[in-house]
Symmetry: C2
Subunit: 392 residues, 2 copies
């Protein structure tokens, strides 16, 4: 069975995380974020609708995977872990109010002597519910719990050469899907049919490599372009309306996001006036995104152009991107391109820059996913002209 | 703007939930499960990667939507709520470790006098993190918190005529997508290309109605059929291998799931022997799924056939299904078809029955989504022959 990464790469990741654990005085780290589970073990199954967890102890070489019994098979196929480090809780924990999978997790920790000392938990991670925490505290009374939110996320921020290779492939897929969107959006065509074509392009990938499970594309139309996170309807596209398409290519869970706006007919003057400013601001920020520069300096380059032209934008213009699972999590939750963010850019950090503009009843988007390079401008992963596409 | 349901239907849902709140002595209910948010307000945006919440107070007619400032626009387009009941937290809560959106939620509750009395929270709901709970407790010191997990889920279990209409449409889409899978899976075709065709069929929907954002289909092949929750690779299908396809049709978030196994070449004898037993057991359980019968009785009908033929299956054979959002949540988390479950079936409950068999290195699946009827056998929403499809 071939995994997307060799065993030594997983072990390097684990060593990196253990150094962070050590620095934070954490003996055992419990991971429930699906992206972080994937990063540390390879685990890749859409089973996170039930509770599951990775336990990484300083005194163990490999992490321990704990999940639903039937998903042990998913772990066998997708992780580098030895079979003895895969533990499944029985079905009697499923669909009942009075038993909780964290009781089983607590038993597994006890068995290994991991039930005292300092246990790190991802307090604000998706799927680590308030009840998970409560059950762990109840059933591990000798442990001290510490918040280890984002500990693994920060370990993910600089990508390895193999990770960058997958990001590049994801960028090729995103580019291909965007070209399909630009081609297919026409007056009278149903939005859902364009969404179908985007999905097909995203999932088929190229002749050399296939695409993996994508996020749903966001593609609001008309007035709805003022809202960033809407998908599609089955209404036909109408003349005069714009569509903001924000989609992603995915390769082995590595995600490249890409946004463009397509307008059918004449763009409204207010939009037409804003487009060159946004693109100029984005180009300035992209050019500034170099090793040694801080996130807030990148944002400032955008802001200088925007402010000079009367555009105020309170939301960040980008964030670190990498492994993603739906409901959307391609945002790594570490560095953001926003004022006050002093993270220093390093080579092989990857970002999605999206200075989206969402006004009262209109909006438009342009974005790029890129890599910070060793010595110059960033490497952009998709190559679609940086413009608004006006058709018809 | 047309919503999938009329305002009176949302108000009925709210009244139903308020009766349950009243019975549980809850003054204010905080909802973070995206399905439950959708149910109570219509909110339909893939924005749940940031914290957001519905607050429903016994003393208010409408719920209060609280989310990220930029997503207020999403709420304007997709909820029935009055604009004054949409509250957005500023970007200064985003991407920073020291401020949390639940502080803003607490302020909003205080402003309305909802900061004391009994506040219900969904302790085990996805996206209601341990930190969310901690922040709420810190910033609402006068409140008593009670676990209201599944309170709204249980209110969702019996569907309205309009909800059933959408489930039927979802069933038509699922049927169409499964027919595409059965047709496209061939020796030498890449798995990702079949996945692309499934997505396209799911999202395009029919000429009369489009499909909405689907879950990723599960479609493991060969040995991987022993694992229930894997997606696809870019390898070609091989002769002699089976593929378990579990997919969904989605209409306005209402989901009909459907599973079938497709085998290229001759099925292994052990599989061939088991298929008629599983289908017979499933038919028996389906026939038993009538108003007035309990969930465990339905399961017992399956179990009688299975045990008599030497099949032991520990996992439940089905669950209530309805509104779904990715990462998979079409399972409503209420009634399960499993031993010990005494929920009595009522007309317009909807279930996904999936007596999947996952063995050491093989498995197969057959499933149906159906409605409990007023006076007879269930109404099955997709019409694909209940068999294993052997090709080539």
């Amino acid at each position: 069975m071939v995994l997307p990464f060799e065993r030594p790469e997983y072990l390097e990741r684990i060593a990196k995380v253990k150094r962070r654990m050590d620095a934070a005085g954490i003996d055992v780290l419990l991971i429930s974020d699906p992206c972080n589970m994937n990063y540390l073990t390879g685990y890749d199954a859409t089973s996170y609708y039930v509770h599951q967890m990775i336990a990484l102890a300083l005194d163990a070489e490999e992490p321990l995977w704990i999940g639903r019994h039937m998903d042990v098979a998913c772990a066998r196929f997708t992780t580098f872990l030895d079979g003895k480090n895969l533990r499944g809780y029985p079905e009697s924990y499923i669909g009942v109010p009075d038993r909780h999978p964290m009781e089983f997790v607590a038993l597994e920790l006890e068995e290994r002597g991991w039930d005292h000392g300092r246990i790190g938990v991802e307090m604000d991670a998706h799927f680590f519910t308030a009840r998970c925490y409560q059950e762990l505290r109840t059933h591990l009374p000798d442990a001290d719990f510490v918040d280890a939110s984002l500990l693994v996320n920060w370990a993910r921020i600089v990508k390895s050469p193999q990770e960058i290779a997958y990001m590049r492939q994801a960028g090729v897929i995103a580019e291909q899907a965007m070209n399909v969107a630009i081609e297919k959006i026409e007056v009278g065509v149903r939005q859902c049919d364009v969404a179908a074509a985007i999905y097909a392009a995203t999932v088929s990938g190229t002749a050399e490599f296939g695409g993996d499970m994508p996020e749903a594309p966001w593609m609001p139309t008309g007035e709805r372009t003022s809202a960033p996170h809407l998908t599609w309807t089955d209404e036909p596209y109408r003349s005069g309306e714009g569509t903001n398409v924000e989609l992603s290519g995915v390769r082995h869970r590595y995600t490249a996001a890409l946004a463009r706006t397509i307008i059918l007919g004449n763009p409204a003057p207010k939009l037409e006036a804003m487009v060159p400013v946004v693109i100029e601001g984005m180009n300035a920020a992209l050019d500034r995104a170099r090793a040694g520069v801080t996130c807030q300096e990148v944002e400032a380059s955008w802001r200088a152009v925007a402010s000079a032209n009367g555009i105020e934008k309170s939301s960040r213009i980008g964030y670190s991107i990498g492994i993603g699972y739906p409901g959307p999590s391609w945002n790594e939750r570490t560095a953001s391109l926003q004022p006050g963010n002093t993270t220093v850019l390093e080579p092989n950090m990857t970002f999605h820059m999206i200075p989206g503009v969402w006004m009262d009843d209109w909006g438009f988007e342009v974005s790029e996913t890129f890599r910070i390079t060793e010595d110059g401008a960033p490497e952009v992963f998709s190559h679609v002209p940086r413009q608004v596409f006006v058709k018809g």
